[in-house]
Amino acid sequence: MDQCPDVLTIQAVLDGEEKSEKVNRHIQNCLSCRQVYRDLSGLVSAADRLGSEAVLPDQFYKTLTARVAAKPFPAGLVAAVMFLFTFLSAYLLEPGYIQWWLSVGMTGQISYVLDIFFDVLFMLQTLGPFWLIITLTTLVVFEVLILNKLKVVEGLNDG
């Protein structure tokens, strides 16, 4: 009589992963190996209860292809353009605004401005070109309004 295979080999037979004819035949003919095989079958059928019939929802592939087709958002580039856009528009409207721009930086409010800036940037990721332009325009109008207000308050033109 040949030697009994270890439990992991018998498990492999049960899982259909052991191709050795000799091992398969041994298990059929050996009483103690058959007992091990039966015990293992109990373990396997308990774990088999985890098997699931769940299927992906119908729109899964459609959503996936849409996401695959979407170009990565050039956040860095858009950030640079927006920065230049607001800076230049401020300068062209009134060169004195730049002073305010810089003074904001000096007084430490720059982080607040940047926070808003990145919030807007984050929001823009989901926008199409049309809404992107609308948002940029709104941003500039808003900027001009704030700057005009400040001009009155700080008397920027006098300084």
Binding site: V7, L8, Q11, A12, D15, E17, L40, G42, L43, V44, A46, A47, D48, R49, L50, G51, S52, E53, A54, V55, L56, P57, F60, Y61, T63, L64, T65, R67, V68
Partner: protein, 166 residues
């Protein structure tokens, strides 16, 4: 390229979804993980050796995403999801019992250490072969066999202990 993606989803989509579903217990979370798996596979397709089947590689990505989910959601206990039973539609009482048993099963699974849980899920939920599990988890064959054996044993014992109470 789209063809490759389509074939991959066709062949492995549901099996990855089931893995994620059992791993997270949440069908929305599971759909997210499955989407992300294919998205990453598509983005990194140059890293993939096309002469080999895509399965193990996809399951490797999916398992990593599941691990990330687990790491980020330590405090939230995994709960039973309605989704599991969608195929069976027995009477109210049977339905209740089946749900109870299902809940016990999933809870028990989540008591196992994650190294055993993963091997069990890949084998019994995603139906991978030993070789595919080795590739997906970067493990030696002996280790896979060993974890499978010990995991099954722990699961059965824990289940018996649990089910004595219902």
């Amino acid at each position: 390229m789209q063809k490759m993606l389509h074939d991959m989803v066709e062949t492995y989509g549901d099996r990855i979804y089931r893995l994620a579903l059992r791993y997270t217990g949440d069908c929305f979370q599971a759909q997210d993980i499955t989407q992300e798996t294919f998205l990453r596979a598509f983005q990194h397709q140059n890293r993939f050796d096309r002469s080999k089947p895509a399965g193990p590689w996809l399951f490797k990505i999916a398992t990593n995403l599941c691990r990330n989910w687990l790491r980020d959601s330590r405090e939230i206990p995994v709960s039973y999801s309605e989704e599991f039973n969608q195929s069976a539609a027995p009477g109210p009482e049977e339905h209740y019992l089946a749900k109870e048993r299902e809940k016990v099963l999933v809870d028990t699974l989540h008591q196992l250490p994650v190294i055993y849980r993963e091997v069990i899920l890949l084998k019994h939920v995603s139906e991978l072969s030993y070789y595919e599990i080795c590739e997906a988890l970067d493990l030696e064959l002996t280790l896979v066999k060993n974890r499978l054996y010990r995991g099954r044993k722990m699961l059965k014992e824990a289940l018996e202990k649990q089910e004595r109470w219902i």
